[in-house]
Symmetry: D2
Subunit: 341 residues, 4 copies
């Protein structure tokens, strides 16, 4: 940590800061420049959360040198983490595509979706039973009934299920049915929920918040890991920007950046990011080319009838074509991609 | 609602869309331009949440004409809403300043803060017992112990309390002690929590999400109101941008915009938005000049020792000076501001 | 164009707007809803630039239906445009990679760069003689001397040159040496410069502004095309966001979006967008997978000695490896990529 | 300057960096922490523009400690700068309001505007003769004819003129007529133009770029000052964000921040930032309360007929009311504001 003292901070103010840092066990390196005094503080950063240097008289700014995440860091664990969801390994050599409808609407819709995505090579089924919707007047999901449909369809098709948990209250219910728990983008910094899912033994799919930095995203993962659950898979799903043509900007650079900073697997959700089905396939290709470990894709047997997010859902035919592309790009990346059946 | 058909959409595709709209009770106005066909659909927009036109073949884009919020809208209720917190009326002629420390740290710190903000003219006490922190290693708040201190200090000083509720699980506990429940920025779209606080009879302070549009913010208010609780106070607290010198961009234009679109009161939190105490006072003045109904200000008897967000906290002396300014600007705005004691 | 009248706008106000629109030759469709009156106006949109409806009494908002660009639009010209730079065709079956140093520093540095990028399969040489730098104290480029070096190295290697023109004053000089003129991101809305380059017969590489929407970018292309020069190649180079780990967010979704909206070729500059060489190669792969027609890559024989933007420059070895990847992804995309020599 | 070496950088790499820094005259302080080696480098930062440390092997990141601007810095000149435009002093005790139409349209329109803004207390006339427009099909300004009208109306009313210069080519022409030259937001980093206006002896109104950081804005001022012209007035005009209800987010916090970092005067343009006349008056009040030295306001005798940006222009009546408010807030700020006539 570097503490930059303001222009004209006198010796007394510098001493107060140095004393404080030493009291917290930091080793001090003082550099007196022509214009500023700079205090280098070396020590255990985790003690720093409980006091704030920037409010001290004479302090201009404090620059953190080390990344604030530990367990999620590549420095902590050098080799890639592989997260198991039933018999599927995410983060290993195989690229896994999780596909299905935005929301579970009926047993028929879900079964039809599941069969077609499985046939195309998807290895997990996605589908929301609890839906976070901007408007209270929009369809909010089938809730427990939807979870039951997911479980039934999973049993028949053999596809593990990923579904969103929105609140600690409904967590036990969702955890009963889901193979992997999804933390939605708007809940990425719902710290209570992060602490609660950390207590389950389920793998967690952690979506990036709509305006989260990569550091904040990894800190959210750190919450889950610090709580005892190291089975975290990160999911890039687009970040908010001024552009209005698409819903969000899909930040594919985050894929190699996260893989550089962290050992956790990263998948990409182009459907939700973009909001227009027409651009999902090229961005799915690009995601794999950027190094993603998997994809989350919305597929609906009849997008025009979807109760939620139809515009971004692929038809079964389009999903087949997307999977063909994923297989081709996967091969270049020296990854395996399950075949169509 | 306006449906713009794509260039070259044939009669058949247009008919399918028109039929669908008519089935949902919309009255149709068809405009066949040289380059595009445009379908105007007049009817009850609340039916629209359950299907999506943009996925239909031949549809280029769908433009919503009416605001999606109803209960929160100025069209629904023309006169300003006044929200009572104990004997205080927010949104009326009096400007109310809620002040206190970021986090409750000890009985002494809280009492000292409360006495000084009360002396300066603040009419409510703020202080966090549950703290949303980016890092799991940072101080997370004193929880129930902190709530008890708030209640005790409130009883002694007579100041009503506003404190954050982070999760539906701890809601009953927080509601037992708080006079007003704060929904933090990162929980603005925690829809479960919004539905739960809607069931209480407590006034709700709804902070704007770090990257929420004004419409999304009003839709979050709509969730609470649609759930039966109309006592919502909005709080602008800065939005995320590319600028790094301050923590967030305080969007003061949102104040007159929200007051134009909605009947709900709006207050401003310059402390959290900016993150540097030096700029809190000028922005507090500006907030009142922009038409805010109140302020939320962080004050700490000793900011350099604060366990949380010291850099943005004012000393008691600075807060006094801020209140003097607020009184002067308030007078111009034809508002009352409580005197210092 | 749709004009939404405000709640409670009376007949007189509506008539004034309708009369104005009719005077401008628009055909009117009036829709009187329960809450709002909506005026549909069909006609030639180019007449609209000279008056503004939103200021008229009783008007709530005006929604544009058609894209504001004409010549750049896919509706105007359905087939892909192919832009020739000497004997190279950009936007056709072959993917072209333009590479070289950020700034021309010396004849040796440039020659060394040119030989190595040519050997690796690049077909154009990039290099700045006039450099836009945030600080007036930074190296500003070798100017005419640099242009002469570019021309000499181009003649020896046979690689056509792309270099930036920063101002209409230096345009004649730059145009004398360059095969393609680059409009830098910060000049994307320098409308004088756009009009001036429109008068040359040179192909123009138009970089997207740091916070330009796709529509604004295409409108900048429209300026050049409306001025008589249809040889425009678009270049995505990252947009500004709140993320600080990388310099800009590379918006790869813009590639398929632009190719859907426009017939113009699109290339991608991952070096400048990201600012860290480590992530250039994966994002180059992703760009090609997203459908880009080419790349702009910074290569320096010795990045640590570069006078400008060393951190984002690849070594010759890394560039070779990048080109190998581009060839593999290009094949999947059914594109040709020139071989290494 | 702080150089953070990457985890595992060996002694050899550290030595190479240290040697390089020492060669550039820096004094070195080495801190070997448990996880990282940190190199503190003290010396003249202006030598740093010509090489880049971040590309050197083993370097993780480089943190700049001092602000990159010198002449514009409050450290360089402690007292507020006062810039004279004819007999008007901007940055002194008097708040100056510059008002007039977005574009000069006719002699009558301009004269009518000038008389009404003068009567209301404005002390400078604004009006564009060269207009930067997003579309090439929009009205581009009356150019020299408009400049002549400005000069004539200025002579009659006694109001000095501020008008935009868009390009170095037209600079001599504009400088002949204007009392103050405006650099538009989209030209803030048109470095050629900045260098050219630096050679004039005219005061420069430098608008903040649509996505410029405060540091970039001050660096643009530094360009003009380093070129020999210290008469720079900064103008906040809103920054780009994801919010769509208003055109830009007016960043009023930038006012006290710039006044803290720099000695240059700062004015605010709420009209252009917001794009809706309804919110101009409250934000004008807020700007003065935040400490602005003046305002730039669009006023049009008949906004609905304006050829450019009607929706954001005030009527003469509204402008009168705005000036009344400015006078009241100005008094609180201990500033003088010229009376209405």
């Amino acid at each position: 940590m570097i503490v930059v003292m303001s222009h004209g901070a006198d010796k007394e103010k510098i001493d107060v800061v140095v004393n404080k840092l030493e009291k917290f066990g930091f080793q001090i390196h003082l550099s007196q420049g022509v214009e500023r005094t700079i205090i280098g503080a070396i020590g255990d950063k985790t003690r720093l959360g409980t006091f704030e240097l920037e409010a001290m008289p004479g302090v201009e700014k404090v620059v953190s040198i080390l990344d604030p995440f530990k367990l999620a860091s590549r420095n902590f664990k050098e080799e890639d983490s592989i997260i198991k969801v039933r018999d599927i390994e995410i983060g290993g050599k195989t690229i896994h595509v999780m596909a299905g409808p935005c929301a579970v609407e009926s047993r028929e819709q879900l079964m039809e979706s599941a069969l077609c995505v499985k046939a195309a090579g998807a290895t997990m089924l996605r589908g929301g039973a609890f839906k976070p919707r901007t408007s209270p007047y929009s369809f909010q999901g089938l809730e427990e009934e939807g979870l039951k449909m997911l479980a039934e369809v999973s049993q028949i098709t053999g596809l593990p299920i990923v579904t969103e948990v929105m609140d600690s209250k409904s967590l036990p219910l969702v955890a009963e049915y889901a193979d992997m728990l999804q933390i939605g983008a708007r809940n990425m910094q719902n710290f209570f929920l992060l602490k609660e899912v950390a207590k389950t033994n389920k793998p967690i799919l952690l979506k990036r918040g709509p305006s989260a930095t990569i550091e904040e995203w990894l800190m959210a993962a750190e919450y889950i890991m610090a709580g005892g659950n190291h089975q975290v898979i990160l999911c890039e799903r687009g970040i908010r920007s001024y552009e209005t043509y698409v819903r969000n900007i899909l930040d594919l650079t985050a894929v190699p950046v996260v893989k550089y900073l962290s050992h956790l697997p990263v998948i990409v959700d182009p459907s939700h990011a973009i909001g227009k089905w027409r651009f999902v396939q090229p961005m799915a290709r690009a995601a794999i080319a950027a190094g993603a470990d998997g994809l989350l894709i919305e597929v609906h047997p009849n997008p025009a009838e979807a109760l939620c997010d139809g515009p971004q859902s692929l038809t079964p035919e389009n999903f087949n074509s997307l999977m063909d592309d994923v297989r081709m790009v996967g091969k270049i990346m020296n990854r395996d991609v399950p075949n169509a059946i």
